[in-house]
Symmetry: C2
């Protein structure tokens, strides 16, 4: 059971290095936390290789399905950075070095003693009709075209762009959550918990195996966009657990 | 540029807790490393919620596209564990408590003093025609149906199932890799590196920004299923880097 939120998002992680295992992705968790906190529901993530048709297909699938699509990776200066061109093709628009991007990059690079060579100018290639996204870490901007927000893959740069980009997005009701650690295995608590879920359809209830002091335990997580329903579902659950003699810790 | 391997895989991570940010996925990296090591190329990952139509759609999309599909999550004893039923629907087969699974679970549970109640019997629900996958951690098995391998989400249990399942899979040529850390920013090295990629189409070359001793640096990664080509591409790259005065460390 999942909540039916008003503002949704898909995430597309682009990069051979994630699929080969060489780089362990950290952006999915960061973006999931951030979107949950601001009231955008992340509904799907895809990871694809640095292959143009794969990027185009995934972007087009996701952008028609969710309010927003975030992408990470593939906007650097090297030949394997093909995201901006793939996005332009997905939207069937042209792409070229954007004077607005150059105007940001040139003085910042001069100040840092970095040459704005042909490779680095690749990072100023922006699809026609896109808005730039501020990068406070390494200057070369991300961009937004339609409902697609294109960000770097390096976590610190991605975070800067994520905060720049999401400041102006439409957001929905925030999901509030509460959790209880029960000192019993999932299989002991399952029947009671399923009955409780049936009673509170507006609250999404998940159960996750855990360990506590070397013993089996279970995290019960309740989530809802309705704080009153969450509170009631939570209170009646703790009452039921007590009634049936399950010991638990409120977290 | 990505290698064109003979044996490919897709991965489907199932769980609201990943999309909400509550749980940070660790299985993608583990599975990517393992598949790379045994000669199966992971080509795509999707993360979807605990929602039946989402699981069915993703499984069906991936299983027709890749040699194998691995799934993680949603095969526990609670009401939010809906993966087995969703997989049965994706394959249009029936699903019921499987005597083979019960025969494994009952004696092991008795030995551990765990009651095989109705909730735990949910974990013995296996789609018709599936083979069981051994779980050395918590006994309740995973399963394989067609080219789809269904595993638990808890990392230790997933790892046990992954090793059980992949022991009998078809594998392809292993990808070998080599990397060089250049003590220069990506933008300095990009032109030379792009020219080198053009010269060695059978070797996939990726560039990743890094830091070394507080300075900008770049990891250059070369990957190929052809060890001879890899070695030649690697040696000519280090020669070129030296010729053009770029300092680097072989890793």
């Amino acid at each position: 059971m999942t909540l039916d939120p008003s503002v949704t998002a898909g995430l597309l992680v682009i990069g051979d290095e994630i699929l080969s295992g060489r780089t362990k992705d950290k952006n999915i968790g960061t973006i999931a936390d951030h979107l949950t906190a601001i009231g955008i529901a992340l509904r799907e993530v895809r990871v694809v290789a640095d292959v143009e048709p794969s990027i185009i297909e995934a972007v087009n699938a996701l952008r028609h399905r969710y309010t927003y699509v975030f992408t990470t990776g593939g906007i650097g200066p090297t030949h394997d950075d093909i995201t901006a061109d793939a996005i332009a093709k997905a939207f069937a628009v042209s792409i070229d070095v954007d004077p607005r991007a150059v105007a940001i990059m040139r003085p910042a690079y001069e100040k840092r003693g970095i040459e704005l060579n042909a490779a680095r100018l690749r990072m100023a290639r922006i699809p026609a009709g896109a808005d730039l996204i501020v990068n406070e870490v390494s200057v070369a901007p991300g961009f937004r075209i339609g409902n697609v927000i294109v960000m770097a893959g390096v976590p610190s740069i991605m975070e800067s762009m994520l905060h720049s980009a999401t400041a102006v997005l439409q957001t929905g009701a925030k999901v509030v959550s509460a959790s209880i650690v029960v000192s019993h295995a999932e299989g002991e608590i399952a029947e009671l918990f399923a009955a409780h879920q049936s009673q509170w359809p507006q609250v999404a209830m998940g159960s996750y195996p855990a360990f506590k002091d070397g013993q089996y335990a279970t995290d019960l997580v309740l989530r809802s966009t309705d704080p009153v329903a969450l509170s009631s579902a939570y209170n009646t659950l703790t009452a039921k657990l007590s009634e049936y003699g399950f010991s638990f810790v409120v977290t």
